[in-house]
């Protein structure tokens, strides 16, 4: 990132943190109209610095690593596919994976904010799934929080010299799961229980979202490993350019 770009990102970051501190807390995707106005706006503003960083990061990829553009399109498409698949789960309800983990592992977490936003926009506008008023909150959980956790876990595993495939699995699965933990938290913040407050609500929402998501997170982890295996066999030059193969012994 250039100096100017860094400045814009940090300015937006400071702005959004202050913005979110000021309003007092009153009291899968979140459904349209189901977050109070203040929450909707606050989550949206909180996303701004990440979206800006994502834009710059994608710009950089476009201008400096043109060869990897196809790969970038593929990781975006991966999120597109996975979030269209509503898979039955052991809790007797369905949910869908996020698919943002693959991109976070290969490109880092920032570009996923933009790619995830595109997926969410498609679903909110055409499918009545999620919503425009809850777009900020959903972007934060699926396109920002999830990918950052994925990236963090992946880096941690790498520094601990965990087997690379195991690292990819853990990172993608836990990032997916974390997305829905954040969703539960967002809903709990908006709907604290009369008895027990936010904590009690959090437990309730977690029992729906996080529990349903566990098998799906495992599926996302396994699928992501499968895709990475394929990319490692055929797209080595691109992966090397992304620094993905750095430190890995030549296979």
């Amino acid at each position: 990132m250039t100096k100017l770009q860094k400045r814009i990102v940090s300015l937006l970051a400071v702005f959004s943190v202050f913005f979110c501190l000021t309003p007092p807390a009153n009291a899968m995707h979140i459904m349209e109209g189901y977050l109070p106005f203040v929450h909707s706006v606050a989550w949206g503003v909180l996303c701004l610095p990440f979206l800006a960083a994502g834009m710059f990061s994608i710009q950089k990829t476009v201008s400096q690593k043109r060869n990897t553009l196809l790969l970038l399109a593929m990781v975006g498409a991966y999120a597109f596919v996975l979030s269209a698949l509503k898979i039955p789960s052991v809790t007797g309800s369905s949910s869908h994976p996020t698919g943002t983990g693959l991109g976070a592992i290969l490109f880092g977490p920032s570009p996923m904010a933009i790619l995830g936003l595109i997926v969410l926009l498609f679903q909110a506008i055409l499918l009545a799934h999620g919503g425009l008023t809850t777009l900020g909150a959903n972007t934060f959980s699926m396109a920002i929080a999830g990918p950052f956790v994925t990236y963090g876990i992946y880096r941690l595993c790498k520094s601990l010299k965990v087997n690379r495939m195991a690292a990819v699995f853990l990172a993608a699965a836990l990032g997916d799961l974390f997305t829905y933990c954040v969703t539960s938290f967002q809903l709990a913040l908006a709907y604290p229980s009369e008895v027990g407050g936010i904590g009690a609500s959090l437990a309730k929402f977690m029992s729906v979202f996080a529990l349903t998501q566990i098998p799906l997170a495992i599926i996302e982890g396994l699928l992501t490993v499968a895709v990475v295996v394929g990319l490692e066999s055929w797209a080595k030059p691109e992966l090397a350019q992304l620094g993905y193969l750095k430190g890995a012994k030549e296979a």
Binding site: L126, T133, K204, V208, V229
Partner: protein, 97 residues
């Protein structure tokens, strides 16, 4: 190379199994969306809450909705397939040269 192919097949099979097992074990459920359940919890906690916005376009029915969802999946899968096709073709070409 052969081992990798086997690994991918096993991974995909396990994914399929994880998705199918709940269908086979739980027979008295329609597997509705988790967001619908969350809506129920919200009603429980805040019975008076009125959603203050509605989706601008709501698919008229299950058929149109599934059309759009499959369109989404198809677009994504198409791009992924295109990418892999390009990469595989390239490595084959490089081997020949």
């Amino acid at each position: 190379m052969k081992n990798k192919g086997l690994l991918v097949i096993i991974l995909l099979l396990v994914c399929g199994l994880i998705a199918i097992i709940p269908l086979a074990l739980i027979s008295d459920s329609e597997f509705g969306g988790a967001d619908g359940q969350a809506e129920e919890i919200i009603l429980e906690i805040a019975p008076d809450y009125e959603p203050w916005a509605e989706s601008i376009l709501e698919p008229p029915g299950g058929e149109t909705e599934s059309l759009l969802f499959s369109l989404q999946a198809a677009l994504g899968a198409g791009i992924i397939g295109l990418g892999f096709g390009y990469f595989i073709g390239r490595s084959k070409h490089q081997k020949e040269v």
